[in-house]
């Protein structure tokens, strides 16, 4: 038996006893605990489909399952997470046919002090220097196993320390990640600041040590990164800037480049009544940062570099999505949200977004701009509530996609124009009908696409959909899907049948390639809180 397994068992015993003690002493009950848990199961049955050259996995049935339990009693919280891949669904970043308790923790929280032992998630600043997180859809979980400490020694000073090893699927990365973060809250130092403006200065350090056994005497086994950030938030506007410098970090992703990396992120927002504007700028240079120097793809990232572009939800607008280029990029995005009509009951709303990313200039300096465009997306969305029964959304996108850079390989650049109409018709108090029509026009890559989605809702429990995505440009292929779901309180069960398009799912700078597949899928999720 491994010693590290003892800790949660001892803790569990402790609380077990404590509970009985408290219960025995106290009618009426004085126990103040909260139990929370969730279960999530996603299964797929793959069928043969020659039209899309679907590669059948050896086992036609795949199932990803997660069980999580958390218990809070006053200042103490404990929890476990159990995962079961029987086997993992196709396209997941790992082939696994195994079940295991992967996360377990003990946490003590006081007003000025918090300690967590076991597996934990956290981020410093925006995550540009460090973020440990979980996303079950793309199969990423880089929780740190170790210790996290957060203290507030002075009212204006928040300190955080982390030390541990990253989770790597069902194992741990062969390295150690450690860091400290200090946040200084100026509104607590100077009373002049304590009005409506909040100023915070942050300083971070993150280091990763991985033993090096090669012949190079000048090879850095430890990679250090230093970050600083400033955040100013007022009533009508906000500004934030974050800069991170990373020591030389030769690794597989950067072809063992021995130069240092850096990143700059600037954000500013302005708000008025019924109006919001946000501008983000980001530049990255040699900034892939991982727990192991030979890791790629979704494996053990230390930091978080999301695509700062609009996150799309429609079938056609999800075909060409950006994947940030940590090796070097410069760009940004602008968002505008505006409510045209003052009427709260029947408003008309407009959202405009423009994003563009390019390669760094010829001298490869941060913020230098070249003519080599990676991605751009101009989109505008207009939303109108006509009555209590009818809502309409119209959207237009103009997308430029440098497939060679974003997906790797040699392709021609793609330009696409996308038109979307989405209508929601609520024809009875609990009955609704939704209808989407979409068209993507392009002369490159796979050419043009069209899509239609219909959805029928019968509140509170039932929902059914029928959709088709059709490529008539090159592939001449339909991707039909049909399905439904039943929801009750915190439980949801859904069943679907259809064909899925091959493509990238990207979340937070890490992408997973989903292979083309046809088959059935079933999802069961349950949340319980007492």
């Amino acid at each position: 038996m491994q010693l590290r397994y003892l800790c949660p068992v001892i803790l569990a015993c402790f609380f077990f006893i404590l509970f009985y003690e408290l219960k025995a002493q106290s009618p009426p009950p004085i126990t103040n605990g909260h139990i929370s848990g969730s279960f999530e199961s996603y299964s797929q049955l793959y069928l043969r489909d020659k039209k899309i050259n679907a590669v059948l996995p050896q086992d036609r049935l795949a199932s990803n399952n997660f069980l999580k339990l958390d218990y809070t009693l006053k200042k103490i919280a404990i929890g476990v997470q159990y995962e079961s891949y029987l086997p993992a669904i196709a396209g997941f970043p790992f082939v696994l046919n195994q079940s295991k308790i992967v996360n377990k923790y003990f946490k003590y929280t006081d007003t000025k002090f918090e300690i967590q032992i076991g597996d934990f998630y956290d981020q410093f600043g925006s995550g540009l220097i460090f973020r440990s997180w979980e996303n079950r859809q793309i199969g990423i979980n880089n929780a740190l196993e170790g210790v996290k400490l957060a203290v507030t020694p002075l009212p204006f000073l928040h300190l955080k320390g982390i030390y541990g090893r990253q989770r790597k699927i069902f194992d741990y990365a062969n390295s150690v990640v450690r860091g400290v973060d200090a946040a200084i809250d100026f509104s607590k130092i100077n009373k002049d600041f304590s009005g409506n403006t909040f100023v915070t200065l942050g300083l971070s350090y993150v280091g990763r040590y991985q033993q090096y056994t090669g012949p190079d005497p000048d090879f850095p086994a430890t990679v250090n990164a230093y970050g600083t950030r400033l955040e100013i938030v007022g009533q009508r506007g906000s500004f934030s800037a974050e800069y991170v410098y990373k020591d030389r970090d030769p690794n597989v992703v950067n072809n063992f480049n021995k130069t240092a990396g850096s990143a700059l992120l600037i954000n500013t927002g302005i708000t008025e009544n019924n109006l919001g504007l946000n501008i983000s700028l980001r530049s990255l240079k040699n900034f892939d940062f991982r727990g192991e120097r030979d890791a790629i793809g979704t494996s053990v990232p230390v930091n978080f570099i999301p695509a700062l572009t609009r996150q799309h939800d429609y079938l056609t607008s999800n075909i060409y999505v950006y994947n940030p280029q940590a090796a070097g990029e410069v760009g940004g995005q602008v968002d505008l949200f505006y409510q045209i009509k003052g009427s709260r009951k029947q408003p008309s709303r407009i959202a405009v977004n423009f994003a563009q990313y390019r390669a760094l200039g010829i001298d490869n300096k941060l913020l230098s701009i070249s003519n080599n465009r990676y991605f751009s997306d101009f989109n505008i969305e207009w939303k109108k509530k006509w009555s209590n029964q009818l809502n309409t959304t119209l959207a237009y996108h103009n997308v430029f996609y440098n497939k060679s850079v974003i997906e790797g390989g040699i392709y021609e650049n793609t330009n696409a124009n996308i038109f979307i109409m989405n209508n929601l018709f609520k024809y009875a108090k609990n009955k609704s009908f939704r209808f989407e029509l979409q068209a993507l026009f392009s002369e490159q890559d796979n050419g043009s696409w069209a899509a239609a989605v219909t959805e029928f809702g019968f509140a509170p429990a039932w929902n059914f959909y029928l959709s088709d995505l059709y490529n008539y440009g090159v592939l001449d292929t339909h991707y039909p899907n049909i399905g439904g779901s039943y929801t009750k309180n915190g439980t949801r069960f859904s069943l679907g049948y259809g064909r899925q398009r091959a493509g990238l799912i990207c979340i937070g700078g890490v992408c997973r390639f989903v292979p083309a597949a046809t088959g059935f899928s079933a999802t069961l999720t349950k949340t319980f809180n007492n």
Partner: protein, 161 residues
């Protein structure tokens, strides 16, 4: 070994089910000025029923639901008291859009952000939209997903509690 851990966890669950009171997780979220506040403190601060809506700027059903809740907020609050707390789970990719987004829509709720999903994780929320109704520190109703008409169940629950 693993089975033992699970067994203990289930024991806690079993023992706990016999006790009545509870306390919500002491997890910090941020308000739109960037100030950290414990979720527990937010829930304890009032006797009024709280409707906690977990949402994100990229979640279409969440926005559909929130728009409706916003339109009916004033009228419904005349019938029975409640307060809507909107917790955005937008991460760094989109969290900077939350403030302009809600101002640009003129929404009237109390807004918080849960950027690294600490609260979402502590309350074991799988998907959004997800609604919780909390009264006197106790979760009296929850619903995952949104189908037009679901808001009637929320109002029904608020009316009868």
């Amino acid at each position: 070994m693993q089975k033992m851990i699970l067994l203990f966890a289930l024991c806690i669950l079993f023992v706990h089910h016999t006790s009545a009171q509870n306390e919500l997780p002491d997890v910090k979220v941020k308000n739109l000025s960037g100030k950290e506040i414990s979720f527990n403190t937010i829930c304890k601060s009032t006797d009024t029923a709280l409707v906690i809506s977990f949402w994100a700027t990229w979640c279409i059903p969440c926005i559909t639901e929130m728009e409706l809740l916003n339109e009916q907020y004033e009228d419904k609050r005349k019938e029975f008291p409640y307060k809507i707390i909107a917790v955005s789970i937008d991460d760094t990719r989109t969290v900077n859009k939350v403030r302009p987004f809600v101002k640009g829509r003129g929404w009237q709720f109390d807004f918080y952000t849960d950027t690294n999903h600490d609260l979402k994780r502590a309350l074991n929320i799988n998907d959004i939209p997800h609604i919780l109704i909390i009264k006197n520190g106790k979760i009296i109703y929850q619903h995952t997903g949104y189908t037009p008409g679901n808001e009637e169940n929320i109002y029904q629950k608020l009316k009868t509690n």
